[in-house]
């Protein structure tokens, strides 16, 4: 039904897609997998009319089409269910289903035909197995139900191709089961589905075909009978996992940092206690919204904890601001690189030396030559690919931006480094470098907390894995006990 061929898309500094082939048949569920930054979202945004490809053709039922706007995409029968749901909480279910194309009455008055949208909404809710009244305001629904409302909206627009981006990332196990059932029903009704997910078990169960992307290229395709967890991972990573992740250091030092009954502002009811030894990488797994970032922010002095203690090298410390954390050698590589990690409009040099300017200044006067030399040295050490240290940090690729964030801290004296999603949106090569750097820091005695939603990353790098669910610490696994299933069952608790 859909055929995309030779699709290429360039962004400043990166080739997001390089002559990619992708096809979906009628009533077929195609899983699109690949690591973060592999080009999945870019490809789907082209289908959704958000991006226009630089090259390549798209055919729908054999006819070439140009998808130049989201509206145009919807008219062609393509509908996307985004990871962040696009529903309006204050409106009721029926209004959400018909948002933007309300049936009207009253001629020039253009009044909304409420009777009609309610009766039609009821019919389409049945198709997605949602047994609720269309009058219910959306805020009273669970995330899973809201998602089904979005699917209902897509069906009411006569969507023939449904793109689902990580639909199960914030669902419980039973909700996930229900969704898989809905997708299977849609398939038998002739609706085609593109299913993007990092949950490989779901794909094993659901997909008719798997298309793997890596670094913006087709990395391979698996037919129904060939789909297996290992084959998919192999194609996604494109190399042996053992060389991808650095070896763990065998000797750990004394406990470097300890959280005692720490309560964050987001989950004041749950106390978290854990400790990290010098030389250890503690992975922190869990679903989005489990309270992991909040923990890191408390440790970095961004938000004051509501209770409990932070102990660094045996002494209880108070961290009213990031400045205090930095003075004690606790550094954060934040999740939102472009907004919290970097000053994208300032140069690489200015970014790297910002927390450390006193080193390069006498009586408040910056010694510019020393500053530039130090920034240059950091760039060489971390292999930061940039035209010069005067280049604006925002124009570098994701991987190099992340290395700039790291360079800020490495010229200081780290005792604890908190990584929040350290390789999100970063290409595979830079990923491996960051993993090796993490391991090297650990070997030098730094205690590392690594928050990650990327299961492979957690499994490959952690000495131990702590798992959180809705603000609670649900378990700590030793390296030998870590499996994707063990972590997932704690994460969905």
């Amino acid at each position: 039904m859909l055929e995309m061929s030779g699709i290429s898309k360039k962004f400043p500094g990166v080739i997001a897609l390089d002559s990619v082939q992708f096809a979906v048949g009628r009533g077929e569920v195609v899983a699109l997998v690949g690591e973060n930054g592999a080009g999945k979202s870019t490809l789907m945004k082209i289908l959704a009319g958000i991006y226009v490809p630089d090259a390549g053709t798209i055919r729908l039922d054999g006819k070439p089409v140009l998808i130049h706007s989201p509206r145009n995409s919807a008219e062609l029968g393509i509908s996307t269910i985004h990871q962040e749901l696009e529903v309006i909480d204050t409106l009721d279910v029926a209004a959400n289903v018909f948002l933007g194309r309300e049936p009207l009455w009253g001629g020039p008055l253009r009044l909304v035909d409420r009777k009609k949208i309610h009766s039609e909404a009821r019919q389409v809710l049945v198709r997605v197995g949602l047994d609720i009244s269309p009058d219910l305001p959306l805020r009273e629904l669970s995330t899973a139900q809201k998602q089904l409302v979005e699917i209902a909206r897509a069906l009411s627009q006569n969507a023939r191709l449904l793109i689902m981006d990580e639909p199960t990332s914030s669902l419980t196990l039973s909700e996930t089961e229900r969704l898989i059932q809905v997708v299977a029903d849609l398939r038998s009704n002739g609706v085609s589905v593109v299913y993007i997910s990092h949950r490989l078990q779901e794909i094993e169960r659901l997909a008719d075909r798997v298309v793997v992307l890596r670094d913006g290229r087709n990395a391979g395709e698996l037919r129904r009978g060939d789909i297996s967890h290992n084959r998919m991972v192999q194609l996604m990573v494109g190399r042996d996992l053992k060389t991808f992740y650095a070896e763990s250091a065998s000797t750990l030092g004394p406990v470097r940092v300890e959280l005692r009954e720490l309560r964050t502002a987001r989950y004041p009811a749950h106390a978290v206690s854990l400790s990290i030894q010098a030389g250890e990488i503690l992975g922190l797994a869990g679903l989005i919204g489990a309270g992991r970032s909040e923990l890191a922010q408390a440790l970095f002095g961004v938000d004051r904890p509501r209770g409990g203690e932070i102990v660094l090298d045996g002494a209880v410390i108070d961290l009213p601001s990031p400045k205090d954390a930095i003075l004690r050698g606790i550094y954060l590589v934040p999740e939102d690189r472009r907004n919290s990690g970097l000053l994208t409009g300032m140069s690489v040099r200015e970014n790297i030396t910002l927390p450390n300017l006193s080193e390069f200044s006498s009586a408040g006067w910056i010694r510019r030559a020393d500053e530039a030399a130090s920034a240059q040295k950091s760039c060489t050490e971390l292999k930061i690919k940039t035209a010069s240290v005067e280049t604006k940090a925002g124009s570098l690729s994701g991987g190099n931006q992340q290395k700039v964030v790291l360079a800020k801290w490495l010229s200081l004296k780290p005792r604890v480094i908190l990584f929040d999603e350290p390789t999100r949106g970063i290409d595979v090569g830079a990923k491996a470098e960051i993993y090796q750097l993490m391991r090297r820091l650990a070997a030098e005695g730094v205690a590392i907390l690594m928050i990650s939603s990327d299961m492979e990353e957690i499994l490959g790098n952690s000495d131990r894995v702590a798992v959180m669910h809705e603000g609670r610490l649900t378990g700590i696994l030793q390296r030998s006990d870590c499996t994707e299933e063990a972590i997932m069952s704690l994460a969905v608790a």
């Binding site: 954060l332 934040p334 907004n339 919290s340 970097l342 300032m346 006067w365 910056i366 510019r368």
Partner: protein, 311 residues
Amino acid sequence: MRKELGILTLLAVLCVLVAALNPQFLSSANIQNTSRLIGTYGIFSIGVGIVIITGGIDLSVGSMFALLGVLLSLMLTQWHWPPLFAVAVVLVIGSFLGGLHGLLITRVGLQPFLVTLCGLLLYRGLARYIAADVVQGFGAGTGFEWLRDFTTGSVWRIPMPFVLMVVVAAIMWVVLHRSVYGRYLFAVGRNEEAARYSGINSRRVIASAYVISGFLAAVAAILLSFYTNSVSPSSHGNFYELYAIAAAVLGGCSLRGGEGSILGIVAGTALLQVLRNLVNLLDIPSSLDFAVMGAVILIGVIADQVLRSKK
């Protein structure tokens, strides 16, 4: 640097044009008077420019001129305070009000526009109340002749306000472009969160910018009230905050923060004053004064936007 070069070229072209159309432009009296105005306006525009670089705005300086001018006149002519002491008190009040703005913005979390807009209304009202809406003057200057002579005098025929402006600009250039504190000012203006995550006490940096603006406004208030020699509480300094904002923006400061330079702000101030001078010298009806300025600023920013999007 490209932006400063653009505005300096524009300034030079304008000067040559006005000089060609009316040689009066180059007369020593005209040059002296224009540079006196550039000096006075330049000093407070630098203060407002620094606030703009942190991503804020200061609308209060015009009303501050009225309040501080009224107070200065009262201190000298009614209360007969020692001139040096009166000057010191004016400078302290200016810095204090700036600090107050800074605290309200960083500690209470109010928006800079609102805080300084309230300042604009409040100080104007106070000035009129204190002066009972009567024009305050400096009379014969008995007892503070030296202060008046100093502020209205010249060094080697260069007007004192211009000399002071050059000194202020030099100091602020070092602070803004060569010091750690200056780097922090740009960093909080670019992205306060990322600056905080790099260990900068962003609240203190932002608040201090308002103190600098308040202090420089007080310096300018003293120069301005002796220049006009009378302070009319309801009109003294009206719209002056807008001259400062216009100068900063013309000189390359972004209202989004994080961009700008001292050279640019000074060049922007000079351009505005030459434009006013042009209206005078070319016999353009003085009622068109603001219209000419508005048009030139608009053309300037449009040209800049067009050039930038082409790049």
